[in-house]
């Protein structure tokens, strides 16, 4: 700190005149001197995964900007027109005004095609970034108290993003998106009792009607963006107020934040990142065509093209619809369309509900009600990581099944075979992912423990005076050691049916709920504690001990082994053939 100030003083230059009394101006009007200064000095921890949420935020801003431009030219109308425009291949074709105006934006407005493509790519990037961001939050346990409410807001934002995207890409009223709306209608019709009513009210009568595009338009440009904007503001404010989590490392504790200040570091970095996101989107929109609606043609209910895939974030639902068997019930004169209802509601409902409840399930099962500001490494929460990977497998398999016709075509696999594989894989895949991930996590934890106890294998073999060969181990760096020691072994709850000292069963462990909780606790707390091997080094065959960093009380004992036991080491005989120090002959 002091040295920094010193340097700053050394390189001070005269500031531009306009900046001299900014603080005075602000403070005279808003009494901002103190508060804004705190704001400017706020510390932002750094990690590359912290950028994922920023990508989503900046994609959203780009969506607002490009969407506003498009709205200046787009006609959300289903009035029939006959096209006579630049795209001559559709000359004389009957189409809706919405489709015709989208053609005009693409071909007759300068920069219109670019803006359309930026808008579409940004929507895809928005959803992809949200997914990646959510996975990061989940796998590092950043959703834990006090951030559980923000996690719930994030899930709502994800849902809103899906709807916003679906409604948005339906607006041009092209054949592909119109087919998507037809599928939406079919799914809505499948809802018991109220399905037909919802469908008729949404479409203003029978499908397709003349109302759906203007209705989706106002939802797409006003209602959902407004909700997203409000929730994003809340999301950011809460995050700002609670301060970021940080990755484990030396000097990082639950009670501090280590990083660079908001001003100028974070501001400059995040500004650069905004331009980077915008630049990459511009590049994609320049060289990679997206949603070429003029190739699809205007919507009509009789036509369709093979390989009709929605945008990727809807592909999961497409897959669940495809994988479903044809179950329906005739129930007292009514039709229950399980073949539509189950795939449309259950899988995504499981993911969203499960994600929303998980922080509370985990808290209930572990009894961990503490505040957490240092993130977990995924390996240190094997069950959570395994559940996350099972979900990823589930989602991924359904996403692939949503493109089963393309896979069949490109890989030359029979179509029905793919669907049959998916029907089994949707159950087996997540199970395999769960167990494999858990084993991998536990294995990595064992490796971590070994690193702490024995240090790194250097590959150097040394011969001892008595002729024995040993491999030299070097203790891990302090930074690494701090990371390894960040693992918190969860505290197991007392098993089911535990009694207190008077022999009375403890309420929390008795009954069905108690047994359930004890079982959940057993699964969730399965973990390898890092500091389980005190004094390990001496237990080995003679002379070997020197190669190890005996793990003390989890603190302090980190001096390089080569130097430390120069005095009376644990095995005095080899006190003078210490490992070469890290500096060697640098």
């Amino acid at each position: 700190m002091s040295s920094q100030d010193g340097q700053a003083a050394a390189t001070q230059a005269a500031p531009p005149k306009a900046l001299v009394d900014v603080g005075g101006f602000l403070d005279d009007r808003f009494r901002g001197a103190r508060g804004v200064r705190t704001f400017l000095k706020k510390i932002f921890p750094d990690h590359w995964t912290f950028l994922l949420g920023e990508i989503a935020l900046y994609s959203f801003i780009i969506l607002l900007l490009s969407g506003t431009f498009l709205a200046l030219f787009f006609q959300p109308s289903m009035t029939d027109v006959v096209y006579h425009g630049t795209y001559t291949r559709l000359d004389g074709v009957r189409m809706s005004e919405a489709y015709a105006s989208t053609l005009n934006i693409s071909f007759d407005v300068r920069g219109g095609l670019l803006m359309r493509q930026i808008h579409h790519w940004a929507a895809d990037l928005f959803m992809a970034a949200i997914m990646a961001h959510m996975l990061r939050i989940f796998f590092t346990g950043a959703y834990r108290k006090p951030r559980d409410v923000n996690w719930l807001i994030g899930i709502v934002l994800f849902t809103l993003g899906m709807l916003e995207g679906l409604f948005g890409y339906s607006l041009p009223d092209d054949l592909l998106s119109g087919t998507g709306l037809r599928i939406l209608e079919g799914v809505i019709l499948g809802i018991p009792i109220v399905g037909t009513y919802i469908s008729f009210f949404l479409f203003g009568g029978q499908f397709p009607g003349h109302d759906i595009i203007p209705r989706l338009y106002v939802i797409h440009v006003l209602l959902i963006p407004g909700l997203i904007l409000g929730l994003v503001a809340a999301h950011l404010f809460i995050m700002f107020h609670q301060k970021h989590t940080q990755m484990p490392g030396k000097g990082r504790t639950e009670k501090n934040v280590v990083g660079a200040p908001m001003y100028p570091y974070f501001m400059a970095k995040t500004g650069a990142f905004f331009f980077f996101v915008f630049g990459v989107l511009a590049l994609m929109s320049t060289v990679a065509q997206v949603n070429p609606i003029w190739l699809y043609g205007p919507y009509n209910p009789l036509s369709i093209s093979a390989g009709s895939q929605p945008d990727f974030y809807m592909g999961f639902l497409e897959g669940t619809l495809r994988v479903s068997p044809s179950w329906t019930w005739d129930l007292a004169g009514h039709t229950v369309a399980w073949n539509v209802l189950v795939p449309a509601l259950v899988p995504l409902g499981l993911i969203f509900t499960g994600a929303a409840l998980w922080p509370f399930i985990e808290r209930w099962a572990t009894g961990d009600y503490a505040e957490h500001n240092v993130n977990d490494r995924p390996r240190n929460a094997p069950t959570r990581t395994a559940i996350g990977m099972a979900t990823v497998a589930f989602y991924g398999i359904m996403l692939l099944e949503g493109a089963n016709d393309l896979i069949a075509d490109h890989l030359d696999i029979p179509l029905y075979t793919i669907t049959w594989i998916a029907r089994f894989a949707v159950f087996l895949g997540p199970a395999i992912a769960y167990f494999a991930t858990k084993r991998i996590c536990l294995g990595l934890q064992r490796k971590d423990r070994e690193l702490l106890e024995h240090g790194l294998e250097t590959g150097i073999i040394r011969q001892m005076p008595n002729g024995e060969f040993i491999e030299v181990h070097r203790p891990v760096s302090e930074e690494k050691r701090a990371v390894l020691l960040s693992a918190q072994a969860p505290l197991p709850l007392p098993p089911a049916g535990t009694t207190d000292e008077n022999g009375i069963p403890i309420p929390a462990t008795s009954g069905l709920a108690g047994r359930l909780r004890a079982a959940a606790n057993r699964v969730i707390t399965e973990s390898i504690p890092v500091n389980g091997g005190n004094g390990h080094g001496n237990g080995h065959a003679g002379g070997h001990g020197n190669g190890h960093a005996a793990l003390g009380d989890g603190q302090a004992e980190h001096a390089p082994v080569g130097a430390a036991p120069r005095g009376p080491g644990p095995a005095g005989a080899d006190g003078d053939d210490a490992e070469p120090g890290p500096s060697g002959d640098a």
Partner: protein, 374 residues
Amino acid sequence: MSDIDKTSAAGPGDGDAQQSPGEQHAAGGPEGTGEQPDRPRRVIGTPSPATARTLLEPAGDGSGHSPAVPETATQPEDEAKAKRAERIVAAFFLLSMLASIGFIAAYVGMPVHTLPRTFHSNLALGTAMTVGFLSMAAGAVIWVRRLMPEVDLEEPRKPVASTQEDRQAFQETFMQGGQDSGFIKRPLVRRTLIAATLPLALAPIVLLRDLGPLPGTSLRHTVWRKGMRLLVYGSNRPIKPEDFNSPGGLITVVPDGYQDDDDALAKAAAILIRFEPGQLQKPTVMDWTVQNIVAYSKICTHVGCPVALYEQTTQHILCPCHQSTFDAPRGATVIFGPAPRPLPQLPLTTDAEGYLVAAGDFNEPVGPSFWERG
């Protein structure tokens, strides 16, 4: 010098220096320090004698802590280097400026209104925009990395929860308000207030009622009527059985008079397939066919996509959306996929002039399942 020496020199000491709060480094190499993996490169085989001797010597300076990051980090950085970085940043910003000017120039100078021009305009505008944004980003990143001193500061984090007194005080204030207002004491006010909000919440939902007509039985019927001609979709011409020059094709037909009515077509669209004599089998209703020509609804019974793919060799009708597959000569029964019912069959006959006409509407609702379908 062996690899072992180098990597171990860069290992622990480096990490230590990097993470000390408040310490700063010369910003010479953005990624240069601190990124080496902890694990030294493993040596396979016997090290050369010279290297081996080096390795066996006690640690060089005895301390074991290697100042991999020079202690000069806190001194003013190399001004020449900084000057160079400044020029690079400025070059990027200038490039961004030029690109933005290029963007405006491309907008003014490149008209659209034909396809090649549109694509050239898109390429020019997009390239200028890309260069503009990315060089701005690159300039700013180099600025942060090379010109701003690297810092690693620590800020204390207070627990989220307030002090016990504050919580207590809040709870008291909150409960006091409840008492003062009588909200707690006067349950009648409380309960009638809650009761009053319930219909209020229903009102906006009721307001949505006029968004559309009630469904009634409209999903049960289509516009097909007895004697209505089948028009070939696209050409809108009526069709005679003899017009099928060869069996095996699939023709989309629409009801005469509704060829441009998407609402009607969304349910009434049908497909015609002609088979070889004897190929048609039950449960196809033979009375509804004309000269081995059968008509099915084109609307998939799954979620309503048009079943547009026909595989002649297997005589399967396939819906491209979710791959429901129907056996065409056997009453379009489902043989794969999520569709729960066969495609409804349209009764066919011919009129006096020999054109194919409907003998009536479908005798069951077409398209996806709905609650009232029964």
